[in-house]
């Protein structure tokens, strides 16, 4: 076995071979799937908990205060305490709620974000599945979450929840368009929808630099519209605290509420990692053409560090945006999408196509 932190392909193949050698084919696949499922689940929980903690600390520093610091060093175990509490909290059943939909909704939301992780390459060879239509899959899966939100709002038998869910529906359906179009800009440049191929294509320069200004505009549009798609501030109309108390999850308590809470942060992680993969080269180190020595030093930094560094930087930008801006109104939200982001995006695709056609990109 030839294992290195720079290439996980051989490691995965070794496990695969080991299982198939020792078990019948059916059971080997079952065991493989179970292992992957468990690993993704663990990863999901850890990243979710860390992001909640990070958000609290980041917003605290932006607001001139220190944030949680009494549970563990620098309050690091704060979210674990929250988790224990939410696990043990009573689940309230609403009398006139639609029981089935009310109970299913949080799971739909969390499964939607769960499925999207599968396609994301964390390092070379480290991904659950490498579709050749990876981007399409992620866009399709991430928009499933809105079904859960709509169900949650509808089934709660609460007017605030309903308004929040309807807002969220309008919001996500329209911003889906911008997310897709801004990714298409890069697909034109990359010529593929496969995540691994997109990352390989950035070996000699990230797309955000390769694609001139259109790629940068696409990145900004993607950042805005994906923030809106994850229901985060300043687009958090679905749970607008000052207007709708807690929006679509007003009636949820305990662990079901925690699912919504966690799904929000995981969605943030997913869109940030897509942005990092598509625009910033994923796990690919920072290379400058012609500087062999510099590139060589950069290669020493493991891909996982590059990947998480980029992802968390983009998450930090999203937090920065959230903790600075006031919330938009629903009509302004739609105006922003249909009057600004969409036309800009369409023109942007044209320019990008022109650049690629003329071979002007690096």
């Amino acid at each position: 076995m030839n294992f290195s932190i720079y290439d996980f392909t051989s490691f995965n193949q070794w496990i695969d071979k080991f299982l198939f050698d020792n078990l019948p084919a059916f059971w080997a696949i079952v065991v493989e799937m179970t292992i992957i499922g468990l690993v993704v689940l663990l990863f999901y929980a850890l990243v979710g908990l860390f992001l909640v903690y990070a958000e609290r600390k980041v917003c605290a520093f932006m607001q001139n205060r220190v944030g949680p610091n009494r549970v563990g060093p620098y309050g690091f175990f704060q979210t674990i305490a929250d988790l224990f509490k939410l696990l043990m909290k009573e689940l309230v059943y609403i009398k006139n709620a639609d029981r089935l939909l009310f109970n299913i909704a949080p799971f739909i939301v969390i499964i939607a974000s769960f499925m999207a992780i599968a396609a994301i390459p964390f390092a070379k060879g480290l991904h659950a599945i490498d579709f050749d239509i990876g981007i399409l899959y992620v866009i399709a899966v991430s928009s499933l979450g809105v079904v859960g939100i709509l169900l949650a709002g509808w089934s709660s038998n609460n007017k605030y929840s309903l308004i929040g869910a309807m807002r969220s529906g309008a919001q996500i359906v329209s911003y889906e368009l911008s997310v897709g179009l801004s990714l298409i800009t890069i697909i034109i440049l990359a010529g593929t929808m496969q995540f691994s191929a997109i990352v390989e294509g950035q070996a000699n320069g990230w797309f955000i630099f390769k694609g001139h200004i259109p790629a940068f505009i696409a990145f900004i549009v993607f950042l805005i519209s994906s923030t809106a798609e994850t229901n985060r501030g300043p687009f958090d109309l679905a749970e607008a605290e000052s207007e709708l108390t807690a929006g679509f999850h007003t009636e949820y308590s305990g662990i079901k509420f925690a699912f919504f809470f966690l799904a929000e942060y995981m969605n943030m992680f997913i869109v940030a990692s897509i942005a990092a993969t598509v625009f910033w080269g994923g796990w690919m180190p920072f290379h400058v053409g012609g500087w062999a020595g510099f590139n060589h030093i950069m290669d020493f930094i493991p891909p996982l560090v590059w990947y998480f560094g980029k992802t968390f930087f983009i998450i930090w930008i999203m937090m920065w945006i959230k903790w600075t801006f006031p919330r938009l109104r629903i009509d302004q939200l739609l105006t922003l999408e249909w009057k600004y982001l969409l036309p800009i995006n369409l023109v942007n695709i044209l320019i990008m196509a022109f650049i690629v056609l003329m071979g002007w990109h690096f």
Partner: protein, 178 residues
């Protein structure tokens, strides 16, 4: 802060004794640790004390250090209701309803003279509840008019001490005693 530095250790000892032969297991200790370190308050303020509650959450005093900054507007997700301000007869049913809507385990801090006893409105008025404990069970009383944010933080620490006495077998024993 040492245990002996706190006030009213006698009542706490009484709670401990009422537990009888139930001992805190490891699971209990873990759950209590979680509960006591993540007390999410409900955004509920009726009058002046609400401003000091806001000040306690703001940059100078920073509630968040205790992990309490997650102010939930929905009672379903809140753990503690800080009754900050006067409760009048018209408001009392609403308060009771809010308390009922909260999911267990739930705690109550009566903040300020009005919530503790009616305060300045104890005599001579016709419309004020004389102490919020006539409506809902109160865990910790924080007197003051309004109490300083530090006093509220102290009240929260008292509540944390109380939560740490809970067991799985008898989770609400500290309130049933009254």
């Amino acid at each position: 802060m040492k245990e002996s530095d706190f006030r009213d250790n006698e009542t706490l000892d009484l709670f401990k004794k009422s537990g009888g032969n139930i001992f805190l297991t490891t699971v209990d200790a873990m759950i209590d640790w979680g509960r006591s370190n993540s007390i999410w308050p409900l955004t509920f303020a009726t009058s002046c004390c609400g401003i000091e509650m806001m000040a306690a959450g703001a940059a100078r005093h920073d509630f968040a250090r205790f992990g309490i900054e997650v102010y939930r507007a929905s009672p379903r997700q809140a753990d503690v209701i800080v009754v900050a301000g006067t409760i009048v007869n018209k408001m009392a049913p609403v308060l009771k309803r809010l308390y009922d809507q909260m999911s267990d385990p739930k705690y109550v801090i009566a903040m300020g003279a009005c919530a503790v006893s009616g305060g300045p409105f104890f005599y001579n008025t016709y419309h004020v509840i004389r102490g919020v404990d006539h409506v809902i069970p109160v865990d910790v009383y924080v007197p003051g008019c309004p109490p300083r944010p530090e006093a509220l933080l102290y009240g929260v620490m008292q509540l944390q001490r109380k939560i740490r006495l809970e067991t799985m077998a008898n989770p609400r024993k500290t309130q049933e005693l009254k």
